[in-house]
C-alpha cells in the first residue's frame, strides 16, 4: 500500500511540476462554463437543476481525459525512467493502480473546481442537491470510462435501431457509458450502474498490468 502511495504522490505532483495541470484546469473550467451557459442555455431553461451541465461532461472528457492519461506510461517510456520504475521492488498492480489513482484524483479536483456552478444554481433556486451529488459521483466515475462514450451515442443506436432485433439494441446500449451515466445523473445510483463502471475500471486496469508484463518480455 505504501508503495502504491509513493507512485501516486509522484505521479500526482508531476501534473503540477509542468504547466499541464493548470492548462488542463483552465481549459476544462472554461469550456464547461461556455457549454453550460451559452450552448446549453442554462439561464433560459428556467429549471433549477444541473442536467445541462452534466450532459456536456462526457463530451468534454472525450478530449480532455486523454491529455491526462496518455502521459502516464508514454512519459516513462520516452525518458527511460520506466526501467527504473519496473526494477524497484513494487508489485505491478501497485504501480498501475497508483498511476491510475493519480489521474483520477486530478480529474476529480478539476470537477470539484466547478463548484461555482453548483453555488449558482443554489442561489437562483432550490435544486435537488441529492441528484447533484449523485451526478458528481457519476461524473467522476465516468472519467475512467470516457473512451467508449461514443459507443452509446444516439447515432450509433439509430444505426442499430433500424434492422437489429430490440434485444441486441438493448445489449449494445447496456454497454454504453452514456446510458449508465444518464441513469446516475437522474439521481438514481443503481447497483447495476455501479457494478458496470467498476467492472470496466477493473478490466482496463488488468489489461494495463498485462501490457506492462508484456513489455518485460521485450
Amino acid at each position: 500500500m505504501s508503495a502504491m502511495g509513493a507512485v501516486f504522490r509522484r505521479e500526482f505532483s508531476a501534473y503540477f511540476a509542468t504547466p499541464i495541470a493548470f492548462v488542463f484546469l483552465i481549459i476544462f473550467l472554461f469550456s464547461i462554463g461556455i457549454f453550460t451557459f451559452y450552448i446549453g442555455n442554462f439561464y433560459n431553461n428556467g429549471a433549477a437543476d444541473l442536467s445541462v451541465f452534466f450532459g456536456f461532461h462526457p463530451w468534454l472528457y472525450l478530449f480532455l481525459i486523454p491529455a491526462l492519461a496518455m502521459r502516464l506510461w508514454a512519459e516513462e517510456k520516452r525518458s527511460g525512467s520506466i526501467e527504473l520504475l519496473l526494477t524497484l521492488p513494487l508489485p505491478v498492480w501497485a504501480t498501475v493502480l497508483g498511476k491510475f489513482l493519480a489521474a483520477w484524483v486530478f480529474a476529480g479536483l478539476a470537477l470539484a473546481l466547478t463548484f461555482p456552478v453548483w453555488i449558482t444554481v443554489n442561489y437562483l433556486g432550490h435544486p435537488d442537491n441529492g441528484v447533484i451529488v449523485a451526478s458528481y459521483l457519476g461524473s467522476v466515475t465516468l472519467v475512467v470510462c470516457f473512451l467508449f462514450t461514443v459507443a452509446g451515442a444516439s447515432a450509433v443506436m439509430d444505426a442499430f435501431q433500424g434492422w437489429a432485433p430490440p434485444a441486441l439494441v438493448e445489449v449494445v446500449s447496456s454497454f454504453s457509458f452514456l446510458t449508465h451515466f444518464t441513469a446516475i445523473t437522474a439521481g438514481v445510483i443503481d447497483l447495476r450502474d455501479a457494478i458496470f463502471f467498476f467492472s470496466v475500471i477493473g478490466l482496463f486496469l488488468y489489461a494495463n498490468m498485462l501490457i506492462i508484463d508484456l513489455t518485460k518480455s521485450g
Partner: protein, 242 residues
Amino acid sequence: MLEIEKLTKRFDAMTAVDGLSLSVGQGEVLGFLGPNGAGKTTTMKMITGFLTPDSGTVRVCGHDIGSDTLRAQVRIGYLPEGAPAYGEMTPREFLGFIAGARGLHGAAARAAQDSAVAHTGLDAVMDRPIETLSKGFRRRVGLAQAILHDPDVLILDEPTDGLDPNQKHAVRELIRSIAARKTIVISTHMLEEVEAMCSRAVIINRGALVADGTPASLAARAPSGRLDDLFRSLTSTEEVAA
C-alpha cells in the same frame, strides 16, 4: 550473491545473450566488458527483472528474479544505462520517491538519503530540477538512487560515462569504499577503469562469455601484456569473420 545460469535472450532473429553463466560473490567488483551490442545491457536488464529471459535463471541472494521478483529486487541497486530519472523532480524529491517506493520512511529514509547524498556529492544541487543538471550530476543522482537502500548487489551500467576525470575518480573511490560488503557488476568501455577498480573482469562477445579472470591475468594473456589488446583480439576477429 549473484548467480546467472544459461541465460538466453533473443530479439526476433538476433540472439542478444546466448547461454551466459556467471557467478559473482560478495566483495567482488566485476568489470563487465564487451563491444557495443555484445549483450551487456540486455544481461543487466535481465538481472534486475526489467526483461524476462527466454531461458535460464538469475538468482540474487538466493531469490529467483523470475519467480521471487520483489524479494530479489529489494537486494539490488540498479543504475540503468543513461541514468534515467524524472527530470521535473529535484534530487531531493526524486530520492524521497525512491525511498518511499523501497519502503523507507521517516528517520530511516532521511538517514539513507543523507548517506547517499554524502557519498555522491549532491549537496549543492539538491533543490534544482534534475533536467537542468549537468550530465555528471545526473549520473550521480542515478548512483545515489542505486545505493540509497544499501543494497547487497549493485548493477551499474556505464556509471562513469560522460564524467570528467575528477568525477570518475570520485565514483571509483565510492565503489572502492563500499566494495568489501557488496557484490558489484559494472559495465564499461573504459578498460583502464577495470584495472583501477575491478577485482575480476569478464569479456563477452555476441552474448557469450569469452574471457574471465583478474584484470592482471587477462592482460597477461595478450602478447603485449595489455588488456585492451586482449579485448580487441577476442572481440574483433569474429566481426571480420562475419
